[in-house]
Symmetry: C2
């Protein structure tokens, strides 16, 4: 589903150039669950943004479902992001003036899904993440972990086939984090959802089928794990 070769991403120019990615290659098969790990600043969020069509690489190639993203225009990228790619941001990124349910609904509105189907998906995903009772709250009226779970609901509600989750359990206690992980595993096993999750949490990593480690913008390890 993902075939990336020699991705680089630079910020700035000349002496102050930051090489956030310095040649990352990665293949992900449909139905895999991959944990992406590495030190702070190693390029994980940068890689996730490129994979999720939120950013373009400076050089290198990326094929999503066999199609080179260089040929995907911004309109089509937006539709893909709304319907087929779920993205959980490291900084949560809920719209502060919208309720939880409106925040979850928004990508499906952009994807032109019909209102009855949207409504069902909003309730189901909020319930699944244990925050159904917060549907009418705004982000400022929720705890950090509650907001994070609303952001996860937003990513899975449209029924994507690729979920990119950047530190989805960072603000969660053990129990809530395990519940999120259980939801991910359920979607992975029952619906074949391909998942790439950035995490510092060894518990999350243990449940993935494979661990990819970044350091200084490069892949330094890529191994299968059997502890499931």
């Amino acid at each position: 589903i993902i075939a990336a070769r020699e991705l680089t991403r630079q910020y700035g120019q000349g002496e102050s150039t930051v090489h956030a990615l310095a040649g990352v290659s990665l293949d992900v098969e449909p139905g895999e669950m991959v944990a992406l790990m590495g030190p702070s600043g190693s390029g994980k969020s940068t890689l996730m943004q490129i994979l999720g069509l939120l950013d373009r690489p400076t050089s290198g190639t990326y094929e999503l479902r066999g199609r080179s993203v260089a040929q995907i225009g911004s309109g089509e990228a937006a539709r893909l992001r709304g319907r087929r790619i779920g993205f959980v941001f490291q900084s949560i990124n809920l719209l502060p003036r919208l309720t939880a349910r409106s925040n979850v609904e928004l990508p499906m509105v952009y994807a032109r899904m019909k209102p009855p189907e949207r409504r069902v998906r909003v309730s189901e995903s909020l319930e699944r993440l244990g925050v159904g009772h917060l549907a009418h709250r705004r982000p400022s009226q929720m705890s950090g972990g509650q907001a994070q779970r609303v952001a996860i609901a937003r990513a899975i509600a449209p029924g994507p086939d690729l979920l990119l989750a950047d530190e989805p359990t960072g603000a969660l206690d053990r129990a809530s984090g395990q519940a999120v992980l259980a939801a991910f595993q359920e979607l992975n096993r029952d619906l074949g959802l391909t998942i790439i999750v950035v995490t510092h949490d060894p518990l999350v990593a243990r449940h993935a089928g494979r661990i990819v480690e970044l350091e200084d913008g490069r892949v330094v390890a890529d191994r299968q794990v059997e502890d499931r």
Copy 2:
């Protein structure tokens, strides 16, 4: 340094009242390091905001250094927050248009600290958190963990005697998290800095002298720990 009795905090009214805190009492001696733990939504951030003079309780009393906060006006509260209380927010909360160094400097500007002293403290605190090389970057030009460390630098730079850190290692890998913890312990032991840290990380909790657990807005456990 902290003497809180029967703190309550309600949001909303009537049927939809949320009891974020339902009677929390807590004493903290100078020089203690306390880990505050509990499930998502249990009231940790709400309690931290009241202790840090960012919010007032609905009822109950809070004495900070022997003085009832009911008698502290907003001007004085602002000065205390700028100089004597360091606060690390769960959502980081850096000002997006300012550089890292300006973000760190701001509370000291409000506290009317002189420029030469401010500048030294800015550099030292950024260096201590391993992000000195990012002084001129804006928050959007940093990784999540780098931004979190800048927020921690901002909290410790003025040399407060009380540090309130709400999930300061949530976005950090193991190594960076341990470095932050080491910095906290150093300040606690060498300077007697009183620290209350909200955490889900058992590693952080093990290094505190005491663990306080919240559930549904109440203290359900308060115990000393010896594993240091």
